[in-house]
């Protein structure tokens, strides 16, 4: 009896999530494998695809780190899906470097535009196109209405959208399902090996609908996120110390 009740409740929960625009495909397990424990922050313990994600960027260095984070998430999305459209304001990324994140650069279509208005139009049109793996847009400002339009577009087409907001004037409320902030951390060398180590990022999930926001220290290594609990612990201690 209780088992059926639990079933009904979980089914209802899923219905609510889908009504809120969060959908789960059976094939996002590949993505969850990549992101590791980060998935626990999301409803249903799975990275939401087919929704809008928003990234806040404050400096040129962070912009690159954010691009890298987005690229590492897009990689599993592209596995059995179509191409990606990347809309930015000028030569956004160095295509050969994308290969290091597992993405075939020739499967990305770059659209370079100057005007924000045109960019928004292109992003919306692209998000409406079913069959794309993802659409990445780099724009500065995004009003609530605009974000609502984009979110409605993806709910129909099931394309995942990433909006990277470089130095926005105001961080306003948007209809995006998540809001992230990615910054870089000093890398840590294994043993006494010299040189530059694997990239290490501080991933802050500032906002997530029906999930648990949080912060993680991540090392990107061969297509996987590795969590450094030591660093996290130290950071927590520092936080406690400083109060």
């Amino acid at each position: 009896m209780t088992a059926t009740k639990a079933n009904i409740i979980s089914a209802l929960r899923k219905d609510i999530l889908s009504l809120q625009g969060i959908r789960h495909d059976s094939n996002n397990s590949r993505l969850d494998k990549t992101i590791g424990i980060l998935k626990n922050a999301f409803p249903d313990n799975s990275f939401p695809i087919g929704v809008m994600h928003e990234f806040i960027v404050e400096s040129a260095e962070d912009a690159v780190v954010t691009n890298a984070f987005v690229a590492s998430i897009v990689n599993p999305l592209m596995f059995d899906c179509g191409p990606v459209i990347w809309i930015g304001n000028n030569a956004v990324v160095f295509p050969p470097a994308l290969k290091a994140f597992g993405i075939a650069p020739e499967k990305i279509i770059f659209i370079e535009l100057k005007k924000e208005k045109e960019m928004l139009w292109v992003i919306e049109e692209a998000l409406k196109c079913e069959g794309l793996a993802a659409v990445i847009g780099e724009i500065k400002e995004l009003s609530f209405t605009q974000s609502r339009r984009l979110q409605l577009a993806v709910e129909k087409s099931k394309v995942t959208g990433f909006i990277i907001r470089n130095n926005p004037r105001v961080i306003n409320i948007t209809a995006c399902v998540t809001r992230w902030k990615i910054t870089s951390l000093p890398g840590e060398n294994v043993g006494h090996l010299p040189g530059v180590s694997f990239p290490r990022w501080n991933v802050e999930l500032l906002k997530v609908r029906n999930g648990k926001p949080g912060a993680w220290q991540i090392e990107y290594n061969a297509g996987r996120f590795r969590y450094n609990h030591k660093i996290a612990a130290i950071a927590q201690q520092l936080q406690q110390k400083t109060g």
Binding site: A68, C81, G82, A100, E130, G131, L132, P186, V196
Partner: protein, 500 residues
């Protein structure tokens, strides 16, 4: 279908044009002159001047003695051809195939056109009236063959229709010159008293060939219709095109939209039947005042989807200026490709780069913001970072070399390396710190150098020694030293990219 041709002869094309430009010249004698062997000679004289006894080829000085108030203007070689070509383009409203005939006439293939005007009579009258309104003196004739139409326009009554099959009878009383033969042959015929066509048409062909050559027989056959003759239209006919003439001139957006929709539907139906798709198309709008407005679109994939093509055109309709109105729409598809068979996908949502939905999206984006803003990159076989990739020419281009993965490359590469100030005390070692955009970064970790040589066969310059560095905050950069480390400090340090 019975072929029908019209020949138009412009009797005084150059002078009529001068009058059209300057109506004050209408009733006064004037001539056009051009230098010839150090003398100004009359090339064209108008009717009034001819009445005074001034003729073509006369020296201007002689002409001025006859009439000292004679006006004269410089003639421009090739003006007639230019005028006729423009007129021929204007004539597209009557028939799609028009040719310029020497430098004083036009030839029109009007097979199957006249019924649109409600008969040959009203067709010819409309043409005649319009030319009359322009102020061009002309004679036109319609017949079954080009030769007959040409002959009747110049040597017959003019402005008449030779009924179906009557062209032979119409030709008989005309002079031999009406056969478009050289003057030498005409003179020889005349010498023998063979003035009219009927006087020699019954003669044995072998005799005619022996005495007057092959040309006479050929022209005779062409005029009689026993040998086929075609005209070389100045407007190359597109294989795929649709025409829509309008009863009344159209000047509204709605009207243009309806016309476009009809044309696209008709053309796309044809494409579907022949399993073809268009790569680009243009809509030509012929205005009442003789101007032609054109809008064009292009697609990434052969398309026969009229809705999609209509959406591409839709953005550009606003650029058409209808002015007083458009009387003819022509939709052409100059580039047509075979349509690859569309197969229903078993699993939806598995789009590749040649997916139709994506192609249509890119068409729309390209139509609105310009194709030059859409890029796709493929690897190029160079180590020099700026040359390690290139723009793909189209969406279907396959990669020919592999992307290189052996060396770390920054996710963002500056288009132009930014000069930085560094502290680098040890030669060929990475710097201790550097200043970029006013901020000092002290370097905690570094890798390198990776030397990349300039490709001397492409560009002169020094090599670069690249270092990956990480500063104390964890930001990673790609720096390089241009040239060798030396005491004279002829080298420079640059920041070229950001790592993730």
């Amino acid at each position: 279908m019975q072929r029908r041709f019209i020949s138009i002869w412009f009797c005084n094309l150059a002078t009529d044009w001068m009058v059209r430009r300057n109506p004050a010249l209408k009733d006064i004698p004037f001539v056009l002159v051009a230098p010839d062997h150090g003398k100004m000679k009359v090339t064209v004289a108008n009717l009034q001047a001819q009445r005074d006894g001034i003729y073509k080829g006369m020296a201007l000085a002689d002409a001025r003695t006859i009439n000292h108030t004679l006006h004269y203007f410089n003639d421009e070689p090739g003006r007639e051809i230019k005028l006729l070509t423009a007129l021929a383009k204007w004539f597209i409203r009557f028939t799609p195939s028009i040719a310029v005939d020497n430098n004083d006439g036009l030839l029109l293939d009007v097979t199957g056109c006249a019924h649109l005007w409600g008969g040959e009579n009203s067709y010819l009258t409309d043409m005649h009236n319009r030319l009359q309104n322009f102020g061009y003196n002309h004679r036109l004739a319609m017949a079954d063959t080009i030769g007959a139409a040409w002959a009747v326009a110049r040597f017959g009554k003019g402005n008449c229709i030779i009924e179906n099959g009557q062209h032979a009878a119409a030709l008989l009383p005309l002079p031999a010159a009406a056969l478009r033969i050289e003057t030498v042959i005409t003179e020889r015929l005349q010498k023998l008293g063979l003035v009219q066509i009927k006087s020699f048409i019954q003669m044995p062909r072998t005799a005619l060939r022996r005495r007057f050559g092959k040309e006479l027989l050929q022209r005779l056959d062409q005029a009689m219709g026993t040998e086929e003759e075609t005209i070389q239209s100045i407007i190359p006919s597109e294989l795929f095109f649709e025409r829509l003439p309008c009863m009344d001139p159209i000047a509204t957006r709605k009207g243009i939209e309806i016309a476009l929709e009809r044309l696209l539907d008709a053309l796309c139906n044809r494409f579907v039947q022949e399993e073809k798709g268009m790569r680009n198309a243009q809509l030509k709008c012929y205005r009442v005042d003789g101007k032609i407005e054109t809008i064009a679109i292009g697609t990434n994939h052969p398309s026969c989807n009229s809705k999609h093509l209509y959406r591409l055109f839709e953005d550009k309709i606003a650029t058409i200026e209808p002015a007083l109105g458009i009387e003819l729409f022509v939709l052409e598809a100059p580039v047509v490709e075979d349509l690859s068979a569309v197969q229903e996908k078993l699993f939806a949502g598995n789009a590749e780069l040649n997916d139709i939905g994506l192609a249509e999206l890119l068409d729309r984006i390209g139509g609105k913001i310009g194709v030059q803003n859409i890029h796709r990159y493929v690897p190029d076989g160079h180590y020099w970072p700026e040359r390690s990739f290139k723009k793909a020419t189209d969406m279907n281009e396959k990669i020919t070399t592999e992307w290189k993965l052996d060396r770390p490359r920054p996710l963002q590469l500056l288009k132009h390396p930014a000069a930085i100030e560094v502290t680098a005390p040890v030669p060929d070692y990475p710097p201790m710190n550097f200043r970029y955009k006013g901020k000092l970064h002290s370097i905690a970790k570094a890798d390198g150098p990776e030397r990349i040589e300039q490709e001397w066969w492409l560009q002169d310059g020094q090599h670069r020694d690249y270092y990956c560095v990480e500063d104390e905050e964890g930001h990673r950069y790609w720096l390089f030293r241009l040239g060798h480390y030396d005491v004279a400090k002829s080298y420079g340090w640059f920041l070229h990219g950001f790592f993730a």
